[in-house]
């Protein structure tokens, strides 16, 4: 049975990629995730300069919710060279964020130089002013960022889009020059503690990820796969092999796993791989391409 997948020029041994923002700040952790069976890892989003991010509390978790507002904390692209050096030769996808085409193309080039096999444009962080959502909800800006980055690097370019929109197709079409779309980022959300009478997160707003958002992620992957030809990488609430297969049947070429690690540990990658293989065996499926997008009507 064949669970490998190909996205643009990249061949992956399985469709399970570590999502950006989870256990991907320290190179040694990313190496460990790859050892646990992820076919690639996406780094934490890296910007032009060091950024402290938000003060604690930066997460709120209470099943089925997981809300975070790390605030794009990152060491800056220069300092990140050290982590990339430790990872050289590994399947690392560099996630980057910025305010416009210049930032993004500069950062993408640096990631390429560092040995990243692809870059993922974070066009959709829901809780940092001036980045993310404010960038991603401007289709003209998205289009120029994608074009500019594509013209500057030879590695594949993935665009990670926001679910905080009323028209995903407009957003997706704006990013259509990318080699793949990554759907979805977190949903803007918040938690108030009624005993403290205060928002829990220091930034007030955060991004909802995990279990709760899977039906939204499936819908975006399905809707975009149905209408556009561009490959889609599914992300949002994947905790077991059924979830991964659901994304693949919705049209995803691969999936990213993030918050799922919180509840299932790093072994989630091997567990889901085994689960997919068993499902394929029981259902006489030779290759994932047989079921990719099979649910689309």
């Amino acid at each position: 049975m064949d669970i490998s997948c190909k996205i643009a020029s990249i061949n992956l041994k399985n469709p399970l990629i570590l999502a950006s923002g989870i256990l991907d700040e320290n190179a040694y952790t990313m190496k460990k995730i790859l050892e646990h069976g992820a076919s690639a890892v996406v780094t934490k989003s890296i910007g032009m300069y060091e950024r402290r991010g938000f003060e604690t509390p930066v997460i709120y978790d209470e099943y089925p919710y997981f809300i975070n507002a790390i605030g794009l904390s990152n060491p800056g692209i220069d300092a990140f060279s050290g982590e990339m050096e430790i990872l050289r030769g590994s399947n690392v996808i560099g996630s980057i964020f910025g305010t416009g085409p210049e930032d993004f193309s500069y950062l993408a080039k640096r990631m390429e130089d560092y040995g990243a096999i692809a870059v993922e444009l974070n066009l959709s962080c829901p809780h940092v002013k001036g980045f993310g959502l404010e960038v991603g909800s401007d289709p003209g800006l998205v289009e120029s960022i994608v074009s500019e980055v594509k013209s500057k690097v030879n590695i594949p370019v993935f665009a990670k889009l926001s679910p905080n929109t009323h028209d995903i197709l407009e957003e997706a079409r704006a990013a259509e020059k990318a080699d793949a779309l990554v759907l979805i980022n977190t949903l803007k959300a918040m938690k108030i503690d009624i005993n403290a009478r205060m928002p829990v997160l220091s930034n007030i707003y955060g991004g909802l990820s995990g279990r709760s958002i899977k039906p939204v992620g499936i819908r975006y992957v399905y809707e975009v796969s149905r209408e556009l030809k561009i490959p889609v990488i599914g992300v949002g609430g994947i905790e077991n092999y059924e979830d991964a297969i659901e994304y693949i049947m919705a049209g995803a070429s691969a999936v990213e796993i993030g918050t799922g690690i919180y509840r299932h540990g790093k072994k989630i990658f091997s567990e889901i791989t085994n689960g997919i293989l068993n499902f394929m065996k029981e259902n006489n499926i030779e290759s994932l391409s047989e079921i990719r997008g099979c649910a689309i009507r």
């Binding site: 989870i22 460990k32 991010g53 003060e55 604690t56 904390s73 060491p75 800056g76 403290a196």
Partner: protein, 248 residues
């Protein structure tokens, strides 16, 4: 977020207080909770008392700490946890090596069958003095109490064979020196590490060391485990995620 009511606030020294609170969770020595001070932030704090009542012992070095040490009886302490693994409890003789606030997490381990080596900046930094007085060897930077010097200066005179286990907690550089001193000796030792901690649930990667998350797989590691961690005593990530090399 959980909360408990504060039942006592004991001043240990000028800036250090022990806050007792009425919580009914089970906890073991070495475990920590994430304490949220609404409007000020959230910090990881080891439990300095793990029985009933539980307590945290905190030295105020910023606004959050100042607010915390001024909590009054009857106020709410917001927290999540307990998190992390814990020191292995053994029947037998224990050597406890602490520096700075490291003593807080090991306080529940102190009993009649334990000897403590504690490194202080100066004599006035001492806390838990009543319990330590008869069983502690102190070292101070300025010689104001005990031996002038660091823990190794006290440790080298100890007959390690007498002890069934050694517990260590303090700044990473101090722990690295203890680790180096012990690593080729035939001892059972556990170290409680400290790093930037944000999420405390194993996903943000801030507290990771050599691919392992302190918050979920630590903070306590055996000396054997530390031998497999090349980042120990060498480098860690800052709050922003920048790799910082620990000065030797």
């Amino acid at each position: 977020m959980k909360y408990s009511y504060i039942i006592n606030n004991v001043r240990e020294n000028e800036k250090t207080h022990t806050i007792f609170f009425d919580a009914d969770f089970n906890a073991m020595p070495g475990q920590f909770i994430m304490v949220w001070v609404p409007g000020y932030g959230e910090i990881p704090l080891s439990l300095s008392y793990t029985g009933k009542p539980k307590a945290i012992t905190i030295k105020a070095y910023n606004e959050l700490g100042m607010r915390l040490i001024n909590y009054k009886k009857g106020e709410r302490l917001f927290y999540r946890g307990p998190y992390g693994n814990h020191f292995t409890l053994v029947d037998g003789k224990k050597l406890i090596i602490a520096a700075g606030s490291g003593i807080a997490s090991m306080h529940p381990l102190i009993d009649d069958n334990s000897i403590v080596i504690e490194s202080l900046k100066n004599g006035s930094d001492i806390i838990f003095e009543d319990e330590l007085r008869d069983r502690a060897i102190f070292t101070t930077d300025d010689g104001s109490r005990g031996i002038k010097g660091h823990v190794i200066d006290a440790l080298k005179d100890i007959k390690l064979d007498d002890f069934d286990i050694i517990y260590v907690c303090g700044p990473e550089l101090m722990m690295k020196s203890v680790f180096d001193f012990l690593k080729d000796k035939n001892v059972r030792a556990e170290f409680s590490l400290e790093r930037e901690m944000k999420c405390a649930v194993g996903i943000c990667d801030s507290c990771s060391i050599s691919g392992i998350q302190l918050c979920t797989e630590g903070p306590v590691f055996s000396i054997e485990k530390l031998k497999e961690m090349p980042e120990f005593g060498v480098s860690r990530l800052s709050y922003s995620g920048k790799r910082i090399f620990i000065k030797v």
